[in-house]
């Protein structure tokens, strides 16, 4: 066991840089900027894990119904427009790229580029949501809603897929197709809410970036919002094939 004298070497990381200057954004209870950054980063990763768990509940529901009612998924996916879905995938990938560049700009203290890249990311996010809106409103008019309000309108009930094989299947509608749309709306809706939340966060760091808060010394918020944005993007990468590309 340790005795008192030997034990007086107490945790004192970062003692040396403390006396000179107290960094502007260092909270009082941290020893150093590194400790603060590490804490924030770990916290962000944990938060991302909770997000993954949150979505995984829905992915489980998807897996359960896909395995018990495969015919519903094969039938219903043709009402989703794979072209719009693919466009959205590309849009989100681009936004991830601009987000990564934004983080890079913050790390290298290029304030102007940071503002530009963040704005670009916001624009891509807005494009994504607009396309999503087009898809939703089309389904709304076609009566392709969740199970409780699933009343397909006869005229609109055409498949989006061009090839003739799939079109032939539309004639027989399996029971409980609404469940597919319930899962579709739950997954994409929740994802959409996350996009909105992400846009809010990007606007917040954009304002701070314009104010000139970020530099090579302090860029943690940009980094963390970036991580979040990549996760939201990643979830879409899973959603797209699971919902739009079923065979």
């Amino acid at each position: 066991m340790l005795n008192q004298t030997a034990a007086n070497v107490v945790g004192s990381q970062g003692q040396e840089n403390h006396e000179q200057s107290h960094p502007r954004f260092l909270a009082h209870h941290f020893h150093s900027s590194e400790q603060q950054f590490d804490s924030g980063k770990l916290g962000m990763w944990l938060f991302l894990i909770t997000e993954v768990m949150f979505f995984s509940g829905l992915f489980c529901a998807y897996a359960v119904y896909r395995s018990t009612h495969p015919e519903i998924f094969i039938y219903a996916h043709q009402f989703l427009d794979a072209n719009l879905g693919a466009t959205n995938t590309i849009v989100l990938l681009c936004s991830s790229l601009t987000m990564a560049l934004a983080v890079r700009s913050a790390q290298t203290s290029q304030q102007k580029m940071l503002v530009v890249y963040l704005t670009l990311t916001l624009i891509f996010a807005a494009v994504f949501l607009s396309i999503k809106y087009v898809e939703y409103s089309h389904k709304w008019h076609a009566g392709l809603l969740w199970a409780g309000d699933f009343h397909p309108v006869a005229g609109h009930e055409h498949a989006h897929d061009g090839d003739g094989q799939d079109a032939g299947k539309t004639t027989v509608m399996p029971r409980d197709v609404g469940v597919f749309f319930s899962i579709y709306y739950a997954l994409t809706g929740l994802h959409g809410i996350h996009i909105l939340g992400g846009m809010g966060a990007i606007i917040w760091i954009l304002i701070r970036a314009v104010r000139g808060d970020f530099n090579a010394e302090y860029y943690a918020p940009v980094d963390f919002v970036g991580l979040y944005w990549h996760l939201v993007d990643l979830i879409w990468i899973f959603l797209f094939p699971l919902l739009y590309l079923i065979h």
Partner: protein, 567 residues
């Protein structure tokens, strides 16, 4: 770190630094409501969860009163159904889940680490207000049509009943966020705020248990969130994922729900075990026996706890194979729990046992938790569970674990850290008397329920066959005595606030860091950096009559005697 700065700061504010503490360093409503100090947040949490406990307790007493006679006693069918639902919901979501982590974890964790605060103080405060928000929603649900689904919200009953399920679900959803924030904060704090000398295996076991708890909070709570989101969508829009009429599967809800709610049981019990590990060691004046086994068993319980949710559903029509697998996994969780109990006993072996109030509660915990754990075996075994499932046997079992375990441990923590938190000592006589009352009345209340259950009395029954009346009446008498004993405990503590003698820095002779600072601690926890050491090296502490508390033994006093003078 900023030793220099801190000393100058405190000297500037007050001429006598030792007199200033986190309670009197600032005043006024906003100094509390907007505080980021983990200790003040802990106190706000403590008062709030105790308020929730009182509310849940009133519901419990109403339930027991109604069950005094086999038929109507004081309320009708529907009122009874609302009452037991709210008892369950309030006790689970507002009291037990946040109780130990949010109150004791918040108060003790940074101090045990020698840190100034948790990693994210603002998030900590947000967590508290989320709790308040969730509680308001739950209360709103009580006012706006009540809630009669049982705390488990099983579909399709919850999607068809006309009580305010949506409001309550939103409340629980928000409470889930509160819980996630606490867990996330604790994990980060333990990873990044530990002093360099405190390796993982020099952390007090309470921190290990909080770490395990936090893992569950972070991983499991989001699943509850999505489940409740789907439930709300089901009720509001009819998305049909749980509705058999639209092609959905109501049993899927049970899987989702128990995927969270079974690990949640370990959110409740793991920190309770952590507190017991601290108290047993301190009051046996011996290091905890098998430190590593106790630490690892917390993690093992947390991880295995994710794999056993199906044992709530043996009669739900799940496939035989899954029932068998879940049963087998369930038994595996009992091994680490058993390890803990045996290690506590071995800690007491050849110790120097002091029966202070916290120790009395800790011994009660071992007694009650052993019964709770062993009766779990009847429920884990498939053949007997089929008979006992959804009967009073289950009710008795989980009350022995949740109340006999978590609540008793929570009170043990209350008496253990009370001097540190308030700076006052309470009356040991009244403290022990309250403990004895709680222990005896608890058994009187819940033991008869094992017999009721095995004899075939289902839970959530308003009317019951007259042959069960005697057992129900014993249980009701016990409930009233239990309530009275809890008031004795409460008055002991409240009395100490006004009449108690001042607490020394280390009244118990414990070696973990929270006892190295004054009682109550200063705003930033330590006037000077605490000494590094083994949290279970109790021989390093010696009783000093001048302080009427313990202090570090100096080298010359060491090894002369292991027998400290009595308190």
């Amino acid at each position: 770190m900023s030793v220099l700065q801190m000393e100058t700061e405190s000297a500037a504010v007050n001429e006598r630094p030792s007199a200033e503490n986190y309670l009197n360093c600032s005043h006024g409503f906003w100094s509390w409501a907007a505080t980021r100090d983990h200790k003040r947040i802990a106190i706000m949490y403590l008062i709030s969860v105790l308020g929730a406990f009182l509310l849940g307790g009133i519901f419990a007493i109403l339930i027991r009163m109604e069950l005094w006679t086999p038929q109507r006693t004081i309320m009708d069918h529907d009122t009874y159904n609302h009452t037991f639902t709210l008892h369950g919901a309030v006790m689970t979501f507002l009291f037990i889940i946040p109780s130990i982590p949010a109150a004791w974890g918040n108060f003790v964790l940074p101090v045990m680490l020698g840190a100034k605060d948790v990693a994210f103080p603002k998030m900590n405060l947000a967590s508290y207000y989320l709790w308040v928000g969730g509680a308001l929603f739950l209360l709103a649900a009580i006012v706006l049509g009540g809630l009669d689904t049982g705390w488990t919200f099983y579909t399709p009953y919850s999607t068809t009943t006309n009580s305010s399920v949506i409001t309550a679900s939103i409340g629980v959803f928000i409470l889930g966020f509160s819980s996630i924030f606490t867990g996330l904060n604790f994990i980060v704090t333990m990873h990044t705020m530990r002093p360099v000398w405190m390796t993982w295996f020099r952390m007090p076991l309470f921190l290990w248990s909080l770490y395990a708890t936090s893992i569950i909070q972070v991983l499991a709570t989001p699943v509850l969130g999505i489940t409740l989101t789907l439930l709300v969508a089901e009720r509001a829009l009819g998305i049909g994922i749980f509705d058999p009429k639209l092609g959905g599967d109501p049993v899927l809800f049970q899987h989702f729900f128990w995927f969270y709610s079974h690990p949640a049981v370990y959110i409740m019990i793991l920190p309770a075990m952590g507190i017991i590990s601290e108290i047993i060691s301190v009051f046996s004046r011996k290091p905890i026996f098998g430190y590593r086994f106790v630490a690892y068993s917390s993690i093992a319980i947390a991880l295995l706890g994710f794999l056993v949710w199906g044992h709530h559903m043996f009669t739900s029509g799940q496939s035989r194979i899954s029932a068998i697998v879940f049963s087998a996994l369930t038994f595996s969780v009992s091994i680490p729990s058993g390890i803990k109990v045996f290690n506590w006993l071995a800690t007491m072996y050849r110790g120097s046992i002091i029966l202070t109030t916290p120790m009395c509660y800790a011994l009660s915990f071992i007694f009650l938790f052993t019964i709770g754990g062993l009766t779990g075996l009847f429920l884990g075994a498939l053949a007997t569970d089929i008979h006992l499932h959804d009967t009073y046997f289950v009710v008795a079992h989980f009350h022995y674990v949740m109340m006999g375990g978590t609540l008793v441990s929570f009170i043990a923590g209350l008496f253990y850290w009370w001097p540190k938190m308030t700076g006052r000592m309470y009356s040991e006589f009244w403290g022990r008397l309250g403990c004895f009352g709680v222990f005896a009345a608890f058994n009187l209340t819940f033991f008869p329920q094992f017999i009721l259950g095995a004899r075939g009395m289902p839970r959530r029954y308003y009317n019951y066959p007259p042959e069960f009346q005697l057992y129900h009446q014993i249980s009701t008498v016990g409930a009233f005595l239990l309530g009275a004993s809890l008031f004795v405990a409460a008055f002991t503590l409240i009395h100490s606030l006004f009449r108690g003698r001042k607490a020394p820095a280390n009244p118990w002779g414990a070696a973990s860091l929270e006892w190295q600072t004054s009682s109550p601690p200063p705003l930033h926890n330590f006037e000077s950096d605490p000494c590094a050491g083994d949290p279970y090296d109790l021989d390093s502490q010696i009783y000093d009559p001048d302080l009427s508390g313990y202090r570090f033994r100096v080298e010359s006093e060491r090894l002369h005697s292991t027998n400290d003078s009595a308190i």
